[in-house]
Symmetry: none
Subunit: 207 residues, 4 copies
DNA sequence: CATGAATGAGGCTTCATTCAT
DNA sequence: GATGAATGAAGCCTCATTCAT
């Protein structure tokens, strides 16, 4: 249990967020105690309340910040990319990369939804729907242009998201495959699941 | 909220398991209290201890029983089916069906792993690996026979499992699609992600 | 700090009420801690919650029981007594006696009103008004019969109640005066404050 | 809720006393928190300690100042008044007026005595006794001159003080009666409770 | 087997107070 | 003189677990 003794002043809030992320990821929100959190930060339990208003609020803050980032970075990534196939590839690559790099936020964002207060829950679910709509819009566009063969638009979106997100479960930074390789493999799988072979871009080797 | 008031005799243990499943699914293991459980069963808290030895043990029992069933039923389903393509289709259909029918067990089996004691954890993870090996074996067989084009065997297995398992997240019993339709859609997506078009069985319309 | 070690079973609730009365009287509701209460009862803090639902509820219970008793016993005391003068004397005697015998309940009933939840507060204030109306009814009756000379009915009632109630502040069980003597002195003062001398009953010596 | 935002300089202490008076009256000393106090003053919690040394000390200051004022103003009021009957009337009128005008100080001075440290408690009780002795001296003088008929000197004093003080409980500034009328009514009641009718001054109509 | 009550640890939160800036 | 953050104790309450009846 690392102890950043003497963390002080405006840095404390950042330390709390970081420690909260770590502990909630490890033990779950319900199982994490503020004693653990305070110890990890290197501070007395009561001092936490100079920075957060409630354990519940800390959870919401973390998830909200994650969702905001996710949406904002996706926007940046898709900007200027045209055509459903290229946009889908970009989406997949982005999703995999983000989910590898911010594994813990992602995990918490999914698994601790039920620990949110009803109001907080609604807000986060709304953001999540916004994100999903980015993908369904691409699928719909591709379908209308006759590029994608999709049994059901929504089912396909759910399936794709679940598959891509699964990367969090097993990816290890120093494993056999690099982040880019994994993104490539997944993008391929998704595209081949949707695009008739003769429409596949030449750049996608059937390796 | 079913409440088997005054449940007696050997039925109580069954009621506890059922209520536990429900409550852990709703609130999570850490968040569920034995008071809630007792109330759901229609019994006083102390009485639970005539049937379970520990809250932790109840969790393990539920997950273990689920894993045993999963493995046993898969065995039954694959029995007598030959050829990687057909076996893969059977696997997908089974996985989807089971995950739809026993949503709560499945969810708990994934999300509450971290709440298990180390020993219990190891045992369950072992069973889970057994299950995954059933899939990788099929993939490997298909690859060796030149039927599947897989970038990476393990990555493909993880991707497939994550995608199929995702069905729990969104499937609603009385929704637009039947269980069979969903199984078909998913099987298709998986097969097309792995099998070169000319190898696809005629029975799989590219609808 | 007396410790009734081993208090058990159905006696515990009674012990809690008794200890609560004592401690709230001594330190005030806000200042009394459940640690103190549990220690006084001879029990762990958590055990209190097998008998009370909340610190606030204990306070309400104590005050409510006191008000119910006060009203019930007054009814008994006034039963069968006729005529405003005799009824006023009986009221005074009863009030003084009750307030001497149940000093602590009385004190708490006054001073901790503000610590009650709004709902509880309203209920108790309603009962208190009922009690005051018993006195104003007597005063009004006496005034209509020309027996009492009262500047203002309500002011007189408040004045009388405040005076009589003040006995709690100073009376000591083994002091110079007996409970009956004090009741007599107070009754006299009240009657002489209201009744013209020629209407005073012969039984009230101007000693 | 007046909020003197940004109160500066020597005015802050006065604002603290005023806010303290209000909040202790409303919630009681134990229930009032320094956070509430600071908010009411329009200052951060820590800043309070530039003006007070302790929460306990603030309480003592407020009560002590009240008692000092009470004694000093009584002295002024009684100065130059001769004869037990007139002095008693003056005492009653003063007591009622003061208790109406400084309701909150009075209330706190009674009800928060028990929240004082032992040393502070003794000092305040001493001052209170000084005040009571002013009344008993008048009663004793009247008795020796054969003007008052008192069953018991001390009991009478307690009774009178309790009655007069009770005015705090119900008087409303814009109610049916003026402060002067109430003082008159109370004085009458007290005098008639003590003075044989033939000794009553002509100025006191038996209205 | 069920119950009700006890335990002791620990949960989140708030408190009065201190002190560097 | 004001501020914000730290402290450590303590607040009420809930928990899983035990056990006599």
């Amino acid at each position: 249990m690392v102890r950043t003794v003497g963390s002080h002043g405006p840095k404390t809030m950042e330390a709390i967020r970081k420690a909260g992320l770590k502990l909630i990821h490890e033990h779950g929100y319900e199982a994490m105690t503020l004693r653990q959190l305070a110890a990890e930060v290197g501070v007395q339990v009561g001092s936490l309340y100079n920075h957060i208003s409630t354990k519940q609020d800390l959870l919401f803050d973390l998830i909200k910040a994650h969702m905001d980032d996710l949406l904002a970075e996706l926007e940046v990534r898709l900007a200027g990319i045209d055509g459903p196939v290229e946009r889908l590839k970009a989406f997949c690559a982005f999703h995999v990369a983000y989910h590898i790099l911010r594994k813990r936020e992602v995990f918490i964002g999914y698994s601790e939804l039920r620990s949110l207060d009803p109001n907080h829950y609604e807000e986060i679910v709304g953001l999540r729907r916004q994100y999903e709509r980015r993908l369904t819009a691409i699928l719909e566009e591709g379908r209308q242009q006759g590029l994608f063969q999709v049994g059901d638009n929504a089912v396909a979106a759910y399936g794709i998201l679940a598959m891509l997100t699964g990367v969090c479960t097993w990816f290890r930074p120093n494993g056999r495959l690099t982040r880019e390789q994994v993104a490539e493999i997944y993008s391929d799988m998704v595209l081949r699941g949707l695009v008739p072979p003769d429409q596949l871009p030449a750049s996608s080797p059937l390796r």
